[in-house]
Symmetry: C2
Subunit: 251 residues, 2 copies
């Protein structure tokens, strides 16, 4: 799978209306999609860039930092993308697409609602810990991209959110439970996305064990009805109803 669209290679800058510097001949329809030299080199550049963005943040990283890390001249970098902003876009898009693709594959393995949520968590954590830099750039530079590119990434994010919400509502229906889907999704996202701030491979469990533990913590919280939790003292009972006014999700 090429990292940029075949037809518009080198020219995703179209997103903000800029003219492409070069126009490649369109591939014939049905032509085999190979990982060209260009794609392989770009992939390496993204690796190095993600590393630097992870260390210094998007704004804090200079193009000169990136060129040093990639072992390539400053001007040479611009052969592979049209701007620093597009570089971030390519990193985020690639990361999101990979994690969603893998998830869809794995979800085919089970129809049990609870099991499917565990698959979601494990998929997320496995990719997270194996690609720390990319995932930190994805989550930390969450609202860095603006306009067209930002909208595109936000759309993919909504898709990912939606998948998780659907999984949780399947579970709720299957078990006849009562909980706010939105709050559950965002609570779960918080738990699993926060990991990049603390995970230390020399101290903490690996992805599989971590997914097990976090899955336990979360699922026990969701699965157990309130009445079944002994000693759950509720104070100020009258303020415990959520004040949701409409269901528009914005995550």
């Amino acid at each position: 799978m090429p990292l940029v669209d075949t037809e518009t290679r080198l020219t995703p800058a179209n997103l903000d209306g800029r003219k492409p510097r070069t126009v490649l001949p369109a591939r014939k329809a049905g032509e085999e999609i190979t990982d060209s030299r260009f794609d392989r080199r770009l992939s390496k550049v993204l690796d190095h860039a993600a590393q630097i963005f992870c260390e210094k943040g998007y704004e804090g990283a200079s193009m000169r930092d990136l060129s040093r890390a990639a072992g390539m001249s400053l001007a040479g970098l611009y052969h592979y993308f049209s701007s620093k902003e597009e570089l971030l876009y390519l990193i985020q898009k690639h990361t999101f697409q990979t994690i969603i693709d893998r998830l869809q594959q794995r979800l085919k393995a089970s129809a049990d609602p609870e099991e499917r949520i565990r698959i979601f968590i494990e998929n997320h954590l496995e990719y997270f810990l194996a690609n720390k830099e990319f995932m930190k750039v994805l989550t930390h530079e969450d609202d860095t991209l603006k306009n067209g590119r930002g909208a595109e990434i936000r759309a993919i994010k909504r898709e990912y959110y939606r998948i998780c919400l659907d999984l949780l509502e399947d579970l709720r229906r299957a078990k006849g439970l009562q909980f706010s889907g939105r709050l559950a999704v965002l609570g779960l996202f918080g738990m699993i996305n926060w990991i990049y701030t603390w995970h230390n491979p020399r101290v903490d469990a690996d992805a599989k064990a971590l997914a097990q533990e976090m899955g336990d913590l979360f699922l026990r919280g969701v699965l157990n009805p309130v009445s079944q939790s002994p000693g759950l003292a509720r104070r100020d009972e009258n303020s415990s109803k959520p004040k949701r006014k409409n269901g528009k999700a914005n995550a």
Copy 2:
């Protein structure tokens, strides 16, 4: 409470060895600590700065952005702090100290372990939602500060982590439960710190209700022993033991 130490006002740049431009006369011991004109003005400057850092990030915000927001000249800002980095330090320190002070006050109200954890969550969320900008700057610019100032903030953060860990271990002892304190703390922190990425006051519940709901979710997850959770299918049982090697916490 003055925002900077009385004796070293204007000179916290000492942290990285720079010479202060001005030295104020030391206050006599026991002299009443008043919020001077300086402190009040600095406080306003921090408000505006937090707003801009929140919008554009620390690196993305320029001193010119800050001067515009504060309605003050670029050079005039430097009367209140010695560098952009110190400005971030002052914001983060003030935020952390305020939230911890309030927590300590509130914790005096109860000795019940579960209640005390709910107090922790509610205190955090209340401050979070009432001071979104400051809390985003605190969490998002987590590892931006380096050297002396960074170490100082990290120390306060460890203190806050420790308080929460102690609360959880009190609960575990009181109820005779079994769970990883570290994972529970970090899971909880993830849930409540992630809020800044999604909370919308027009859609979501207020701090009190949110604290109730998140407290429920989290406490049910922690309180319920595994055996009491019906239908909690564990797969791959042999990989579920955490592989912790030593207990050094790094959050």
